[in-house]
Amino acid sequence: MASKTSKTKKTTKTQVNGTDDEPDLIRTEFEYRSFQSEHVDHRELELKDDQLLDMYRNMMLQRRFEERAAQMYGKQKIAGFLHLYIGQEAVSTGAANALNVGHDSVITAYRDHGIALALGMTSNECMAELFGKIDGCSRGKGGSMHFFSADKRLFGGHGIVGGHIPVGIGIAFAHKYKEDGGVCLCFFGDGAINQGSFHEAANLASLYRLPVVFVVENNQYAMGTAVHRASAETDLFKQASGYSMPGALADGMDVFDCYRAFTEHIALARENQPSLLEVRTYRYRGHSMSDPGKYRTKEELEERKDNDPIIRLKAYLLDKELTTNEALDDIDDDVKKEVLESVEFAENSEFPPLESIYEDVYVQEDYPYLGQSKN
């Protein structure tokens, strides 16, 4: 069903010698389905009841973590660029639950806090990184845009739009080469799809049949640029046809649909069938902390918030009587506590020692840096 749901029916190759004056027709077909909580039972998706509560907690953790990070940015505990994922949590949580974390690989752009927490990286190491401290997930060298975890196989956190997409297929290439059964989820934004790097990577992945899922998180905007102002074809998943790979669409505001779609596409990847999954989602906050957000109306924003993925999951849980308001409140308190502790942890963590500026550049220990002696 995975394949059925999103395979592109290939057409026979074109020949240039039709003697008929009547034009031949070439068809390319896509299918997509939206499979949402309003009309689904999680058991159909083989999701256990308590897994749903974990998902709820994880989405809540991502949100509270970033709300607190925003506050700390205001207090200048955090500097540089801070891009919040708030609103998109269903995507990261849905993906992580469909993945074999620690075995499969993930790479994404600079809006990376959500997926990091979804993969099980700790609030402590993430907040410490934002603070630029030694206990951060990148030892204070990467900051918000450059989260890494060898443990959870998060290969970054990348700041150059589109630049990490070829790296993603390389990670997948190595999984296939080593025959370790792993796949790579390669996330990028609706703005990134217009970079040539996507085109080259998509063709290479399809040509070499690499175990990768290209996930375009279409949150409708690249900074202030709406999709229709950046992409001539606004159905981004249709790009798949240029590389004869499956293209599909999922509802990024619905954790069930995300889980369903990721499960299907990861299954394709395990058969070395790369694919393009467009997830339609929405970011509530500005592009980064400095964004006035004039490019959209309050009404649009509010309307999207009515479709909030956390609220929808909560409604589902209560509706299906899988939990109680009290139990959910306990989760919320527990999350708040974890986040507050992470702030304290980050505060108390040390700044990296100055000598460490010359560490982690090269594996070679005794590399002769220019001017190093003089410092």
Binding site: F81, G132, K141, G143, M145, H146, I160, G162, G224, V361
Partner: protein, 327 residues
């Protein structure tokens, strides 16, 4: 003179030139409806309309090349890179097309284009967003590279760059956009490309710094002043072509030189200036030329590390005292 922010000076230069010449247009990411990621082009869409102030997708290679083609076909594009860190995905267009097409065509075509945007370090942005690109671009014949340090130079030089018939890279700085300075109100105010500015006269040591580093050079000179020494401070303003004569004349007077540059040191502007000085003024040098640059590493995120990473007036001051044999 009027007091303007750096960003306003750049905007005024573009606006005045676009008022003057219909063939000039501005293109880049978020330059139009968003008023520019750093508000440099604020209001320009309203003034000139969507035909001449154009938002792009995130396709630097594509729109850099578009600009080059438009220049070949009679227009005068201003292409904004949101920052020059992002110009690397478009560098083939700049190296192989902007810098070489005129030559390969035997001079049949010209490429009057300006690539502009912030360059170099801007605080805690980590390695991918902290690259100084001038030494890479200035190595390439066919290009001109300008890096002003103040609003007045920015306005005068940008207007000249826009009128210049050759491809120009115009390097600005996020952290300087808000800086205020006196700007000439002379109508049609232009400054020549390839002329350095002697910002302060002195005979004790020549301190050279462009863009942000110019301000470190001044600060260093102040520190020396307090110790009773008059340093000569030179802002090259243009990297390619480099006004070596002004620099050499100064060194012939001071007999020593310290160069401050935010670039990574290896094969950088400081290396080149040193080569040219010692080639032309060898006998006048009383001490080795020293440079104060960013560290020979990628740029870190942590506050204390990035502060340590950047060149400092303190280090430049030490270097000056050293070449002056004061300690």
């Amino acid at each position: 003179m009027a007091e303007l922010q750096f960003r306003e000076a750049i905007r005024d230069a573009m606006v005045e030139e676009m008022d003057r010449d219909e063939t000039i247009f501005l293109m880049g990411e978020e330059v139009a409806e968003y008023d520019g990621a750093y508000k440099v082009s604020e209001g320009m869409l309203d003034r000139f309309g969507p035909k001449r102030v154009i938002d792009t997708p995130i396709s630097e290679n594509g729109f850099a090349g578009l600009g080059i083609g438009a220049a070949l076909n009679g227009l005068r594009p201003i292409i904004e890179f949101m920052t020059f860190n992002f110009s690397f995905v478009a560098i083939d267009q700049i190296i192989n097309n902007a810098a070489k097409i005129r030559y390969m065509s035997g001079g049949q075509f010209k490429i009057p284009i300006v690539f502009r945007g912030p360059n170099g370090a801007a605080g805690q942005l980590a390695a991918t967003h902290n690259t100084s690109t001038e030494s890479i671009y200035a190595t390439l014949p066919g290009l001109k590279v300008i890096a002003p340090s103040n609003p007045d130079d920015a306005k005068g030089l940008l207007k000249t760059a826009i009128r210049d018939d050759d491809p120009v890279l115009f390097l600005e700085s996020e952290v300087m956009y808000g800086m205020k300075g006196e700007v000439s109100e002379e109508k049609d105010y232009t400054l020549p490309i390839g002329k350095a500015r002697i910002a302060r006269e002195g005979d004790a040591v020549t301190i050279i710094g462009h863009s942000k580093s110019y301000w470190l050079a001044l600060k260093t000179a102040d520190m020396l002043k307090e110790e009773g020494y008059d340093a000569e401070v030179i802002d090259p303003r243009t990297i390619r072509p480099l006004d070596i004569n002004t620099i050499v004349e100064s060194v012939k007077k001071t007999n020593r030189c310290v160069i401050i540059d935010e670039s990574n040191p290896f094969a950088s502007i400081s290396s080149e200036i040193t080569y040219q000085i010692q080639e032309r003024a060898f006998d006048h040098l009383d001490a080795p030329i020293l440079r104060i640059t960013a560290k020979d590493t990628p740029a870190p995120y942590a506050k204390n590390l990035i502060d340590y990473y950047m060149p400092s007036a303190e280090d430049a001051h030490k270097a000056c005292r050293k070449v002056m044999y004061l300690d």
